[in-house]
């Protein structure tokens, strides 16, 4: 079946512009996660949507970052007034909320802020 998909695969933007990154989780997965991977670094947790419960936003680095999940499916990560330090690969993952918690990752969106 289809895995987690993310779009765009690459995004180049100018400093100060806003960007939106999209994630389509695996059908039936009610948990959705965003992580950030900077060059040569591990994955840094950003936000976690858990079904109908309030999201865990504890990893968002600043108020320039926000995320939505519409209809319990597609999610959009928005970065306002982008800075050069926002350049990274943004990874989305999804999982079931009960039973197996294995997180399945998408291929990521590579964001470059010039």
């Amino acid at each position: 079946g289809a895995g987690v998909s993310q779009s765009p695969s690459n995004k180049v933007t100018e400093k100060g512009k806003d960007v939106e990154l999209r994630c389509d989780p695996i059908s039936g997965h009610t948990a959705l996660y965003w992580y950030r991977q900077s060059l040569g670094q591990g994955l840094e947790f950003l936000i976690y949507f858990q079904g109908n419960s309030a999201p865990d936003k504890s990893g968002l680095p600043s108020d320039r970052f926000s995320a939505e999940r519409t209809g319990g499916s597609v999610s959009t990560l928005t970065i306002q007034r982008t800075q050069q330090e926002d350049s990274a690969v943004y990874l989305c993952a999804s999982s079931f909320l009960s039973g197996s918690y294995e997180q399945y990752f998408g291929p990521g969106t590579r964001l470059t802020v010039t």
Binding site: G42, F45, Q50, F105, G106, P107
Partner: protein, 112 residues
């Protein structure tokens, strides 16, 4: 403290050798420890995971060893192959789901 420390940063192993990657954690509330494999340009993929009620888990050539008292766990890749060349991440989390805390990654290169 929710850090997970991973070593080494990079590892070169000859084909057929054993690759060993180590991780250490601080938070004793963690009860789920997965290892992910990532190829360039791809997202990480779950390789193997362990829960603290066992000290070892083996799947094919991949084994996790877990030492609860030392708060350490390691990945052993037996009979390493060039196709195993990738970046490996350990992580820690909770058995009920939720965010994972990742180590910094180990770039493994298996030489033919």
């Amino acid at each position: 403290q929710q850090q997970v420390k991973q070593s080494p940063q990079s590892l070169i192993v000859q084909k057929g050798g054993i690759s060993i990657i180590n991780c250490a954690y601080e938070n004793t509330a963690f009860d789920y420890f997965p290892w992910y494999q990532q190829f360039p340009g791809k997202g990480p993929a779950l390789l193997i995971a362990i829960r603290p009620d066992v000290s070892e888990k083996k799947e094919g050539r991949f084994t996790i060893s877990f030492n609860k008292s030392a708060k350490q766990f390691s990945l052993h890749i037996m009979d390493s192959q060039p196709g195993d060349s990738a970046t490996y991440f350990c992580a820690a989390g909770w058995d009920q789901g939720g965010k994972l805390i990742f180590g910094q990654g180990t770039e493994l290169s298996v030489k033919p």
